[in-house]
Amino acid sequence: MSVFGDGLKAEIEGFLKRYETRRSAILPVLHAIQDVHGWIKPEHIEELHTVYGLDRVHVKEVITFYDIYKDKPVRKFQIRYCKNITCHMLGARPAIARIREHIAALDAAHGEDGAFSLEEFPCLGKCDGAPVMLVNKERVEHATVDKIDQLLTKYAPTVLR
């Protein structure tokens, strides 16, 4: 029994055929798994190793090397807030602090599995919209501290009350 669903299985097999070597498929395959499951579980790696012939050491190296891959459970909304130069200059730090406050409050109210997680991200490549953050895959520009409350409410209207 596969730990991947049928759709994901087909997608993985597609990637394995798509590139010149199977190893080249590691990154796309991991993206696909993460899109479905949120994070990459040990059993995923195990199946990639045993069934699809992607060496578990290679996979683990890739997961730990790249920022995007997560090998721990994630929350519903993952905020990646850019803290690089321009974003820093235009107010990333107070905004990050504000998000932290919200997360702490949510955690206090709802326990450890609150709706948001925050990652101070090295760079998001949208300096003309600084400060920028990604909520899951959606880019939010000009996310200054005064707009944070409103922005977060948009994603999780009930929990924030």
């Binding site: 010149e20 070597t21 890739v62 090397f65 790249y66 130069i85 200059m89 949208k126 003309d128």
Partner: protein, 430 residues
């Protein structure tokens, strides 16, 4: 004199539905260049000669002549060769390639077909950073359109030339913007740069000849084919011909991406294109070419033009054209920390001087900001930066060392004062 502000790359900007194939064909001579080349009007040798003659230099940061790079591919080699579009754009401050994907992705694809034809590659990849989710969608859509229209795939326009193009997404690593790091990543490995020689043009992706070109570089090629090297050279300076996209950000009224000829005055870009500084702010320092470029003081900015030579004469670099305005409200020590922390986070960990050097500098900066650093920390940073430069496989080590050196050299007074103040206070806000 040709137009003051040419439209070579962002030709469909401002039009309705700019990304569509139809728009590109109707308004920007779309896919006429490949008709010219694949139709036989221009031979492979002529194409390379034309690009060489245009003086087009790599727009990714290093500024290496593009045509010359193409000639490094061994002609005798008949096996598979690859063309990779470096759309990783990971240098902090840069967002021009992202803008091209948003405005005019087809010109990149057309440029790739031309470049592939020049180096006899039948397979290409566009490698985009994961953070550009939206733009990846645009690119995939554009590739689909191009396939449907017969501009990609087998026997393009009946010429017998095959070129398959695929998209590949990164996963959050600055170092994948380095061409061999990118190749490693494309091979499904950690994005660690490879030791050179051999160079990728001889042994790159899967050990085959591979050319990696920046998105903007490739987008220049169709225009050069259509209009000729001579016209291209009308823009820009003698040594830096053509136009260039500048990503300009910071405390400006209209930050963004602007296409101006190389050699364009910096002050004019700020005032005309960007609408000047935000009210009440003035220039404290300038980062002219992304986070890895040495800083310029307001003094040095006077009379600055935007080209490779003017930057070099001021001891800094144009890089990928990422201009960041540091206004007078910023604390430079904090920005230095942000910069170093970025490079320490992004060092791939292969070469010792970079792995340990970036971490060490970050460690020292923690001490400076936390009030626990020794009084000679600034001097120490200068020494560490000096010795980690120029000794590693790729330039990340230098990319970290150069801004540190320039901060320490040009703004050491501020750093020392900060150090003394933080030490006196005993702590500092995080």
């Amino acid at each position: 004199m040709a137009q003051d502000k040419p439209r070579i790359i962002l030709r469909t900007e401002g039009l309705a539905n700019p990304r569509a194939l139809k728009t590109y064909i109707e308004h920007a001579e779309g896919y006429t260049a490949i008709k010219k080349v694949l139709g036989g009007a221009v031979t492979r040798e002529q194409l390379i000669e034309e690009v060489k003659a245009s003086g087009l230099r790599g727009r990714g940061g290093a500024g290496f002549p593009t045509g010359l790079k193409w000639t490094f591919v061994p002609q005798s080699d008949t096996g598979p060769k690859y063309l990779i579009c470096n759309n990783d754009e990971s240098e902090p401050g840069t967002f021009k390639d992202r803008h091209i994907c948003t405005v005019n992705p087809h010109q990149v694809i057309e440029g790739m077909v031309l470049a592939a034809f020049a180096i006899k590659a039948n397979k290409g990849y566009i490698y985009t950073r994961w953070e550009f989710q939206e733009e990846i969608g645009y690119l995939v859509e554009a590739i689909k359109e191009a396939y449907a229209a017969g501009f990609l795939g087998k026997n393009i326009l009946g010429s017998g030339f095959d070129f398959d193009l695929d998209h590949y997404s990164g996963a959050g690593a600055y170092i994948c913007g380095e061409e061999t790091g990118l190749i490693s990543s494309l091979e499904g490995k950690k994005g660690q740069p490879k030791v050179k020689p051999p160079f990728p043009a001889v042994s790159g992706y899967l050990g085959r000849p591979t050319i990696v070109n920046n998105t903007e570089t490739l987008a220049n090629v169709p225009w050069i084919v259509n209009h000729g090297a001579k016209e291209f050279r009308q823009y820009g300076t003698e040594k830096s011909p053509g136009s260039k996209l500048f990503s300009i950000s910071g405390a400006l009224v209209r930050p963004g991406v602007y296409e101006v000829p190389l050699g364009y005055p910096f002050e004019r870009l700020v005032q005309e294109e960007c609408g000047g500084y935000l009210p009440g702010r003035s220039l404290q320092a300038l980062i002219p070419g992304g986070a890895s470029a040495p800083l310029l003081t307001p003094e040095e900015v006077k009379g600055l033009t935007l080209d490779y030579e003017a930057m070099a004469s001021r001891g800094t670099m144009l890089g990928s054209g990422a201009i960041m305005i540091i206004d007078d409200r910023q604390v430079l020590a904090e920005l230095l920390k942000v910069t170093i922390e970025f490079f320490a986070h992004e060092s791939c960990g292969q070469c010792t001087p970079c792995r340990e050097g970036t971490g060490w500098l970050n460690n020292i900066m923690d001490g400076v900001l936390g009030g626990t650093a020794k009084p000679d920390s600034v001097e120490r940073m200068r020494t560490v930066a000096k010795h980690m430069g120029g000794k590693t496989i790729c330039a990340l080590s230098d990319a970290c060392a150069m801004p540190v050196t320039s901060y320490v050299q040009k703004f050491s007074g501020q750093l020392q004062a900060y150090l003394a103040q933080a030490a006196a206070a005993g702590s500092h806000v995080k």
